[in-house]
Every structure is written in structure tokens, then in C-alpha cells.
């Protein structure tokens, strides 16, 4: 636009002040970007979860018999099925945590999005203490194929200790669906090696169904199978499960809006004040613009434009930083979900920037609109 040089000159008038204001706005939008990015991530986790995959967990405790697989598989509509037991392990430092899924080759059919070659799973079947790691996890722990790594766990091993040694068979590419990385081991290793009094029990059974619309009906049938047994189960479609888990601790939506509102409110005041002061200093210049023929509305529009450019610039920088934030947060909080920049997130930020610009620029724009030329010039 032809008025850009005017705006640019105005912003460069007090470069330190403009820069500091811009920095505050950037930081505020960094926060807005992170919060709404996290919100978007949570929404995506739910959206990516499959409605045709059902997760079976214990109703009253944490373990239930792996034998249930044989009965579940006979329920109408059940396609592929697999079982899972988790081992929480740490490697060297207590901060290097893993949640190892101890399972068998059937997991590949049930969770095809893992994108792992079948032959790798076949290897795992043969090598009982084998381990498959995702790339990011392997890099973080500095483990490579062929390593024999001891993990400290919460399960007792045969030798009485809680150390389980694994043979790293393969390191597979990261998958966006599993942002925290994943690790897979052989269920037999856990089942035969554990010495805590439990045997042939699992944390989860996961299966695919043929018709997503029958999900709750099939889930109910599965629950009924074991309703009168000593270890009843709960069967939930995966999407519902993830949604419930995410909502269980914090209300992410409220959290996002509240924190964003606080930071935006903060810069609303700041920007409003800075603009008002800047305009006050430039009264004579605005008077001259009016003498030259700029209308009242024209100069006030220029002021609003100035504020908007400043806010949009800050919002843009803030979003760029928010995009880079995951690398920082994963250093402080390894394994935490990372924000994603969706068009929705970007749109929200831009909308907020424009709103803040208009509200904070309004008093200054009004001042300039009402400015009487003769009075302003008479000051000289």
C-alpha cells in the first residue's frame, strides 16, 4: 500500500519503544500460540483416534487374563485383535522414561498406522528380549540397534531384581501419531520372566471391528462376556477413551482461553498506552496531514492501521516462536504433548491481533479524528 512508508516512519520514530512493545506483543502471542496449539493437538489426538478400534481394560484393577482374547475374538464383528502389557522403565537417568508395550505380532494388524515393516515384528517374535524403538526415542536415550540395554522398571524380574535387559532389534521412523515416541517388546519376555506372582495377565486388549457404527453394541457384548467373572472388563472405542483421558485432568479449552485472555489483556493496556502517547507526540504532524487534505477519518484510519501492523507483526513473530517451542519444552518436559500450528490456530491468533489492535488503537484514533487543525497549529 502507498501509505506504508508513513506507517513505517511512525513506527521508527522511537525505535526502542516500538521494539519493546513489539517484544511484549510477540511474547503474548507466543503464549496464545502455545496454548491454542496444545488445544489443537489434543483435538487432533482425538480426531486421529479410530472409532473402529476398541480398547478393553480391567474394570476394577489394572490386570486381567490374556485368555479373554479367545472369547472376544468370537464376538460378531471383531476383526484383528492383540494384547498389551506395559512396563514403565527408566534408562540410566530417572528422567529417561519409557512406556514399553509388551505385545505380539498381531499388534501390527490392529495398529497399522505404526508403519513398521512386518519382518521387524517377525524378528521380535523370535528374539524374546527384543526391543523396537522409534527414532526420536532412540536418539534421546542414545541407543542404537544391536545394543543390549538394561532398564530399571517397576516389575520384578526372574533374578529378583527390577532390571530387565533388552536387545535392541530395530529403530523405526518416528510417527506423527505418536509424538512421544514408542517402544515395543515381546509379551512372552514379561510373562515368563516376571516374578511378582502374576502370570498370563495383560493391561489391555485392543481389537478392530468391521463396522464403526456397531462400536458401542460390540463393546457392550464384550463387557457382558465377563460381567460375572472375577475380573470384569470395560470396553471403550479408542476415540472415546482418548477424549475421556484428555478431559479427565484439565479442561483444556477453558485453560487455553483463560491464559490467552490474560496475556492479551496485558498487551491491550500496553499497546493502548503506547499508541496514545505516540499520537500525543505527533499531534502537529497529524495537524499537517489534515491541512494537506487528509480527512478526519483518514488520519484515524492510519492510526488504527499503525496499531494493526504492530499487532500483526508481533502475532506473526509469536507464532513463529510457538512453532519452535516444542524443542524447548521437550527439553524441560520430555514426553509432553507438543502444540501444532493448524490454520485454526493461526486464524485465531490473527483474529485476536486485529481485535487487540482495534480496541487498543481506538482512543488514539479517536483523539486524532477529533483533532482541530487550527487549535493544533496555534500551539506553534
Amino acid at each position: 500500500m502507498k501509505f506504508l512508508p508513513l506507517l513505517w516512519a511512525a513506527l521508527r520514530r522511537k525505535p526502542a519503544r516500538t521494539l519493546l512493545t513489539l517484544l511484549s506483543i510477540t511474547v503474548a502471542f507466543l503464549l496464545v500460540g502455545i496454548m491454542s496449539g496444545l488445544n489443537a493437538r489434543f483435538a487432533k489426538l482425538v480426531e486421529d483416534a479410530r472409532v473402529d478400534r476398541i480398547v478393553v481394560t480391567a474394570r476394577y484393577g489394572v490386570w486381567f487374563p490374556v485368555a479373554y482374547v479367545d472369547q472376544i475374538v468370537r464376538v460378531g464383528g471383531v476383526k484383528d485383535i492383540a494384547h498389551l502389557a506395559f512396563i514403565e522403565a527408566t534408562y540410566q537417568e530417572p528422567t529417561n522414561r519409557l512406556n514399553i508395550q509388551m505385545t505380539d505380532t498381531r499388534l501390527l494388524a490392529v495398529q497399522p498406522e505404526m508403519n513398521i515393516e512386518p519382518r521387524i515384528f517377525a524378528d521380535l517374535d523370535r528374539v524374546q528380549d527384543g526391543l523396537i524403538l522409534s527414532q526420536g526415542l532412540a536418539d534421546r536415550l542414545r541407543i542404537t540397534v544391536g545394543d543390549k540395554v538394561p532398564f530399571a522398571t517397576d516389575r520384578v524380574y526372574q533374578d529378583g531384581s527390577r532390571r530387565w535387559a533388552f536387545n535392541v532389534l530395530a529403530v523405526v521412523p518416528d510417527n506423527e501419531r505418536f509424538p512421544q515416541g514408542f517402544s515395543i517388546g515381546n509379551f512372552k519376555y514379561l510373562n515368563e520372566g516376571r516374578k511378582d506372582g502374576l502370570r498370563n495377565v495383560v493391561h489391555r486388549i485392543v481389537f478392530l471391528i468391521d463396522n464403526p457404527e456397531r462400536a458401542s453394541a460390540i463393546a457392550n457384548s464384550v463387557e457382558q462376556l465377563f460381567a460375572n467373572s472375577p475380573a470384569p472388563v470395560i470396553a471403550t472405542p479408542e476415540r472415546t477413551l482418548i477424549e475421556n483421558n484428555l478431559r479427565g485432568v484439565i479442561d483444556m479449552q477453558f485453560f487455553t482461553y483463560a491464559v490467552s485472555a490474560a496475556s492479551l489483556f496485558m498487551i491491550l493496556f500496553l499497546t493502548g498506552n503506547v499508541m496514545a502517547q505516540s499520537v500525543r507526540e505527533r499531534i502537529p504532524e497529524f495537524a499537517v496531514m489534515k491541512t494537506v487534505g487528509f480527512s478526519d477519518r483518514g488520519v484515524s484510519a492510519l492510526v488504527l492501521l499503525e496499531t494493526t501492523v504492530l499487532c500483526l507483526l508481533g502475532a506473526g513473530l509469536g507464532l513463529v516462536l510457538a512453532n519452535a517451542a516444542p524443542t524447548l519444552t521437550s527439553a524441560i518436559l520430555p514426553g509432553a504433548p507438543a502444540p501444532i500450528m493448524t490454520p485454526g490456530v493461526i486464524g485465531f491468533a490473527i483474529g485476536c491481533a486485529v481485535l487487540v489492535a482495534i480496541i487498543s488503537g481506538a482512543p488514539a484514533a479517536w483523539r486524532v479524528k477529533q483533532l482541530s487543525i487550527a487549535e493544533a497549529l496555534a500551539g506553534r
Binding site: 512508508p5 511512525a10 504532524e285 496531514m289 491541512t291 494537506v292 478526519d296 477519518r297
Partner: protein
Amino acid sequence: MNEIMDAVVLRDVVKTYRRGKEKIEVLHHLDLSVKRGEFLALMGPSGSGKTTVLNLIGGLDRPDNGEVIVAGEDLTRLSGGQLATWRSRHVGFVFQFYNLMPMLSAERNVGLPLLLTPLSRAERDKHVRIALDIVGLADRARHKPGELSGGQQQRVAIARAIVADPTIIVCDEPTGDLDRATADDILALLKELNQSQGKTIVMVTHDQKAAAYASRQLNLDKGQIVNEVGIAA
């Protein structure tokens, strides 16, 4: 009076200002006319209303009573927005303290009025160049006001005043802040614009030597014309 010949006609103009509870009548049923191509000097003591007359002619202010007709247009009938547009096309201002935008270069300052026109970038640049040539500052186009002397800044202001080819140029103490030699240069430039380009100029000054450059001189006192002196061109 033949209004087609007149660039400016003020008829029965009254203007009062409010200061606190006081009402001060600055212009008292004033009649005044300026012919096309005239170089008029308005003189008078402070408080005589000469700056007010200038503001009215330039469309910067409205009278409480009477008519202000500039280039055939009755300014009292125009709305605020229309007045602004009219200003951009018909008036050029030159102030005592130059009133340039400190953060813009000379050429951007001069081009300010043209931003309001539909002219293309190339056309605007052309007009600016011509204006700067006329005032003799083509080589200083990129400089900021802070890098120019007082006289040079006033030249830039004059270039800005003429860049949109206005009907009338209005000057408020244009040499008030300049030394004698520079003041003479500026006044000579104004006279040149008046004589070779036919620009109507109305200049307020309290400097008799400056008034000598004009073709006609009016003295104001207490909002009324008290004296009229015609000076041969």
C-alpha cells in the same frame, strides 16, 4: 466585484473564539477579496485576526457567520470530509516552522498531498521531482528534515505546497524563523512562483521587508481592514 477574477472572497465574516468563559470576537463583519494571480501580504499586530483569516481562506476553520468563497467554491457549504478533499486539491500551506514530518525524506514529505490522489507511483514521483526542481532542491531529495538547513526545509515545505498544483498558496509567517539572507531567498522564490507560474499567494507577515515582495498589502487591526497599500509589481 467580478467573482471569476477573484480567487478569494470573504463576505461579512464573523469569527469568535471561546477562552474559558470569555468570548473574543476576532473577526468583525470582515469583507475581503483577493484577485487571481495576486501576491497579497496581510499585516497587523498580534490579535488582529490575520492568522484567522488565513485559516478561513485555507479551509482549516469555519466562520461563525458570513461566506468564504475560494476559487468559486463556498467553503461554508462543504462538510468536513468535503473540505479535506477540497484542501488537497486547491490549497498549499507554508508555515513558519515548516511543519515537515521528521521521519520522512524530503521527497516523501513533498509527496504527502499526492497520496490522496489516484495517481500512480510513477506519476507521483514525477510531480515530486518537478516540485523539488522548482525550489532548487532536487539533489537533496533523500535527505531528512533534520539534515537540512532552515531555508532548505522551508523550500521543501514550499515544494509540498505546490506539488498538487493548487489554486492558492497560503503562507503564515514563512520567513519568521529564518535569517535575513535566507528569508530573502525564500521570498524571491515565492515571488517567482507568483509571477512566472501565476500562483495566487496570500502571506501573513509582520516583517515590512517581507511585505515589500508582495503586490498588495492589507493591514488588519481588531478584525477589520484598516489600511490598504498597493505596491507596484
